[in-house]
């Protein structure tokens, strides 16, 4: 089993796929561990990518610092793994909490990567997200990991998916509970509740960036992704239809299709982010469509944008 050494701590990672050519590094969400990427990872490997994934400090099989976890250490771990992959096109895809670590890495070491995919991610913690985070932390402290999962399941997934998977939810909850330790999750959550906003540093990200967001994600809602789109120069925002927060788990094949295509477009020189806004296809292989011009992508109902509000959007989208 491969391990990275980071400041005398052991970090568990996995590699799959060919050892040369382009690579993707996947960065976990809060309660995630590497095995949860497997369907997504396999789809990327089938397209010829090598895929690296790892348990952050405090997660899965990696060491779990007892009292303090610093975000800087997670960024260092990501950097160590990227160094291990050598010189070739490397893309990072991080979800939620993992997206923040990926953003931080891209701000400081953008020259090492070919592209970035923040998924359900954020660069600041406004009041709503802070209160969500604080409530989830209280839920963890008072009710344990199982209660945290009870809260997260309906936040992360659609009702349809939960209904379809109902027979497996109890087992899924148990497996998630087994893999996560309360103190380690608490340390991870606290490391994020104290974090400094990254918004002002986002323009330093010069690499192509595809921001993925779920149409119905209310845990990290659209304004958070919009902030990434507005501040990262070569970015595009892609809205995944009918998706909630954890679309890498609910729609692994579709998400893998989108990130694969992104990497291929970047490597072939076709990618033009330009702050554009797109709607993802519902199925693998479908077309991306531009968000209808003149309508406000921040709203849930089709609200026309007034002429004076349209100007900044057009500027952001100009090549």
């Amino acid at each position: 089993m491969p391990w990275l050494d980071c400041n005398s701590r052991r970090v568990h990672y996995e590699l799959a796929g060919p050892p040369s050519g382009p690579a993707y590094v996947l960065v976990n969400g809060l309660t995630q561990y590497v095995r949860l990427w497997h369907p997504f990872r396999d789809a990327l490997v089938a397209k010829g990518f090598q895929v690296a994934s790892f348990d952050m400090l405090g997660q899965g099989q990696s060491d779990k610092p007892s009292l303090f976890i610093h975000q800087d250490d997670q960024v260092k771990v990501l950097g160590s793994l990227i160094e291990k992959l050598g010189n070739r096109p490397i893309f990072i895809a991080g979800i939620s909490f993992g997206g923040v670590v990926a953003l931080r890495y891209a701000i400081d070491h953008g020259d090492r990567i070919a592209g970035l995919v923040p998924m359900s991610s954020f660069a600041e913690i406004p009041a709503q997200l802070f209160m969500f985070g604080a409530a989830l932390r209280t839920g963890l402290v008072l009710g344990g990991t199982s209660f945290l999962q009870d809260l997260l399941f309906p936040m992360n997934f659609s009702g349809e998916w939960l209904e379809k998977m109902q027979h497996l939810i109890e087992l899924a909850r148990h497996r998630g509970w087994l893999a996560n330790d309360v103190y380690a999750l608490q340390n991870l959550m606290e490391s994020f509740l104290e974090f400094e906003p990254l918004t002002e540093q986002l323009p330093a990200i010069r690499v192509p960036t595809m921001i993925l967001t779920g149409e119905y994600d209310f845990l990290t809602p659209r304004p958070l992704q919009e902030s990434l789109r507005v501040h990262i120069p070569d970015s595009a925002l892609v809205i995944i239809q009918r998706a909630y927060h954890a679309f890498t788990l609910e729609k692994p094949a579709l998400t893998a299709y989108l990130v694969t295509r992104f990497a291929e477009d970047v490597m072939s020189g076709r990618w033009r982010g330009n702050g554009t806004i797109w709607v993802a296809p519902e199925d693998v292989g479908g077309e991306l469509t531009r968000f209808p011009e003149g309508f406000d992508h921040m709203r849930a109902i089709p609200v026309r944008i007034e002429a004076d509000e349209l100007a900044p959007l057009q500027t952001a989208a100009a090549p």
Binding site: S66, L67, G176, A179, M210, P252, R261, D265, V284
Partner: protein, 226 residues
């Protein structure tokens, strides 16, 4: 080695496994209760002492529960283990803290944190084990309560009064974590259990909605300006 207790005997966790697990827990929680009992003044003057009193009572409850919910059997090998465990729980002076009393309090809190954080007795239960079994209920209750009990230690150890000696505190807690983890694992190995196996269980809902082969054949469409 298996990731859970078992194989079951007559539908229950074997008495030897119950005895070893409960003996370990009674040794550790008993030691913590003893340390808290000594440190607790007869008359409470500070808010944190109320929390300490609550912890003391919870630890006593855990001891009483284990004594009654476990199917005990004579275990000749356990004497040496208990001696080793008891020796490990003795409070120690920690380096990097000049005030000896404060150093001892930090070590007691570090021991409590490690005990409540690292030891997950409910995670030993086989999947699908009957909820109504008293031993299983006791394991679940102890693990559940541990998550809450640990908060008092976290408040103290991460509190502003210990900021000047934060590195010493972090080392003391890491040392206690490593110590308890090793003793717990050794005890579990003696009953053929290795909890690291839990990380190799396949996540329950890991069935891709669409075959991955379909992805490989799809055309690539660029996000690009027309």
């Amino acid at each position: 080695m298996k990731p859970f207790l078992g194989p079951l005997e007559n539908g229950r966790i074997p008495a030897l496994q119950q005895t070893r697990v409960s003996a370990f827990l009674m040794s550790a929680h008993g030691a913590l209760a003893g340390q808290l009992g000594v440190a607790l003044p007869a008359s409470l003057h500070h808010g944190w002492q109320v929390e300490m009193h609550s912890q003391y009572c919870r630890e006593m409850e855990i001891l009483s529960l284990l004594g009654r919910a476990t199917s005990w059997i004579p275990d000749p090998a356990i004497g040496l283990m208990i001696w080793q465990w008891q020796l490990a729980w003795v409070p120690r002076q920690i380096s990097g803290v000049a005030d000896r009393m404060q150093g001892t309090l930090i070590d007691i809190a570090a021991f409590g944190h490690a005990l409540h954080a690292v030891i997950r007795p409910a995670a030993l239960l086989p999947e699908g084990y009957p909820d109504a079994d008293p031993f299983a209920l006791a394991m679940r209750r102890i693990e559940f309560e541990s998550g809450r009990l640990m908060q008092a230690q976290i408040l103290f150890l991460k509190g502003p009064q210990l900021v000047p000696v934060r590195d010493a505190v972090a080392s003391a807690v890491e040392r206690r974590h490593a110590q308890i983890r090793e003793l717990w694992q050794n005890m579990l190995h003696s009953i053929e259990v290795d909890m690291s196996g839990r990380h190799h269980l396949v996540p329950a809902y890991q069935a891709p909605a669409q075959p991955t082969a379909a992805i490989a054949t799809q055309p690539s469409v660029a996000i690009r300006e027309p």
